[in-house]
């Protein structure tokens, strides 16, 4: 009875989901399934009918120092980028959320979204012109007489982190703005009227209330940072090896689809966990808003 009523509620418009469902099943879910399957097979099932089930590709990831180090480096870079993006993004998000002028708000929003709409290759190139030995920063510092030799800003984790922070700060800001904007300014004013200083008010009222946004933004930035390819390649200059770089190497240089698949499954598992947590946090947030 209940089931029948439910079915009646679904109307004709629901069929509009078909093209998207087909696209996602055929070219999203199925390919990821194939990727996972290949990672567990001993060879290519099309060219070689005698393939067998194997954990070999995953064992290789753990056994080899090179691959394991790459995994750790990927997570380390992701963590540092997330923390820095939070430290840089929070003040800006707070400013935007509390900006009363409409024009000012629109301008800030443009300043945040414009970099997002600039290609990753272009933005990474911009950082190469800033950080390289003959780049803007080193030339300026030398001209000022502060340094004699160019600082090694590029071709290492430092450069990669700087470039990635620049790319992912906007995602942090946009997630935080919504959450901070939902905090009633009256709560902050009340705290200040009761004698709390600016910093005290922030630490005791604003910060705790924006915690869900901080968590959601951090999960998002971490998920994006660990899957970056362009920036670690160009700004790392061969001195940085991350999981996405390994994945592409396995395809382009070794054509080892099985091992590339295993690396992909590991990256996918981490990302999926982050996505689910992100959605859960934002879902709970919008649920609270509906109740309020």
């Amino acid at each position: 009875m209940r089931r029948r009523r439910q079915r009646e509620q679904i109307n004709g418009i629901a069929w509009a989901i078909t093209p998207a469902a087909l696209l996602f099943v055929l070219f999203f879910a199925l390919p990821f399934g194939v990727m996972a399957a290949l990672s567990l097979l001993s060879g290519n099932p099309v060219s070689n009918p005698n393939v067998a089930f194997t954990w070999r590709n995953y064992a290789r990831l753990i056994d080899s120092d090179l691959y394991f180090d790459a995994l750790i480096a990927t997570l380390r870079i992701g963590l540092v980028v997330t923390i820095l993006a939070l430290l840089i993004g929070y003040p800006l998000a707070h400013w935007m959320a509390r900006m009363r002028s409409r024009v000012g708000h629109a301008l800030l929003l443009m300043a945040v979204i414009a970099p997002m709409l600039t290609g990753i290759v272009v933005r990474t190139f911009a950082w190469m012109t800033l950080l390289s030995d003959r780049g803007v920063i080193n030339t300026t510092l030398t001209w000022l007489g502060w340094i004699e030799k160019p600082l090694p800003l590029m071709y290492g984790e430092f450069g990669v982190v700087v470039g990635l922070v620049h790319i992912y700060v906007p995602f942090m800001v946009l997630t935080l703005v919504g959450v901070i904007g939902r905090i009633d300014p009256a709560l902050e004013e009340a705290a200040r009227n009761l004698g709390a200083g600016r910093l005290h008010t922030f630490l005791e009222v604003t910060l705790p209330l924006s915690l869900p946004g901080i968590l959601a933004g951090s999960l998002l930035v971490f998920a994006l940072a660990i899957s970056a390819y362009v920036t670690p390649v160009l700004l790392g200059g061969g001195n940085v090896l991350t999981l996405p770089m390994l994945i592409y190497q396995q395809v382009s240089a070794s054509f080892n689809l099985g091992f590339a698949g295993a690396l992909g499954v590991v990256l996918l598992a981490v990302s999926l966990a982050l996505v689910v947590a992100y959605n859960a946090i934002l879902g709970r947030l919008s649920g609270e808003r509906r109740l309020a």
Partner: protein
């Protein structure tokens, strides 16, 4: 007391100005290198010339890539707009069970590593023995473009009063007419904004293209990436300016069309 508050306020504004500069200056600096005539990236600039723009527009490699990128983006806009708007309608108006989960699934290409989407599609095409067809590239781009259209269309659908549609139906309009004359005009700004995002997402797309392009059939970001690895001259800066100009045009178009706020809300 008041000087302490002012000091705090000044620090707050200084930090924020610094963050905005951090976001924008690296992009602005590209303009300097695009116009500087020295044969390699050098600072400070020694003059102003258009030689790098001339080199970019005269290079067959760059131009082929630019036209391919624009062509792919144009097709992706059409596909993503239609598919994205339809799925948004289905989710917002179809009374489907698990609408939240469906939304999360169709938005997931935004958060899941695009490089894996590229890898997975590449593996399927390899196993199927169809190589790397151009339509495969279009499909890959469409996957990551649909979420943008879905998001902007859903934002508009959630915003407008459903009773407008119901009123039209009560007054005797057939469902098709309600859709054509009420729903469609109301969601058009959201769909168009999503289409603009779809264009820029496809035009700038790198990780998926990396796996799906064929030699001599590479999109502009892939060509730029390969060029940067071996050569760091003003041609890249000029090419970057072209794509930044496109991005800026998009930002202004969006702001005029629906206001950027709508994009941020969901």
């Amino acid at each position: 007391m008041s000087t302490r508050i002012d000091a705090g306020r000044v620090t707050y504004l200084a930090v924020n100005t610094g963050v905005v500069l951090f976001l924008l200056l690296p992009i602005a600096i590209i303009a300097v290198f695009a116009l500087n005539p020295t044969p390699y990236i050098a600072f400070p600039p020694v003059g102003v010339s258009l030689r790098w723009f001339a080199k970019f527009f005269a290079s067959a490699d760059f131009m082929n890539a630019l036209w391919l990128s624009l062509g792919v983006a144009a097709v992706v806009v059409v596909l993503a707009t239609v598919i994205g708007a339809l799925v948004a309608l289905a989710i917002a108006r179809g009374n489907l069970p698990g609408a939240r989960l469906l939304t999360a699934v169709f938005l997931s290409p935004l958060m899941l590593p695009a490089i894996l989407t590229g890898l997975a599609l590449f593996q399927v095409f390899m196993l199927a023995g169809i190589g790397r067809p151009l339509w495969g590239l279009v499909v890959g781009h469409t996957l990551v473009a649909v979420p943008y259209v879905l998001r902007t269309t859903l934002a508009v659908l959630h915003d407008f009063d459903r009773r407008i549609e119901e009123a039209a139906a009560v007054l005797g309009a057939a469902p098709a007419r309600v859709f054509r004359e009420v729903t469609l005009p109301l969601i058009r700004p959201g769909v168009m904004a999503g289409g603009i995002f779809a264009f820029i997402v496809s035009f700038d797309q790198f990780p998926i293209s990396l796996f799906l392009v064929v030699p001599n059939g590479e999109t502009l970001p892939v060509v730029l990436f390969n060029y940067i690895r071996f050569d760091l001259d003003g041609a890249i800066a000029a090419a970057s300016m072209v794509s930044i100009a496109l991005a800026l045009a998009v930002v202004f178009a969006l702001e005029r069309l629906i206001g950027l706020r709508a994009y941020v809300r969901l």
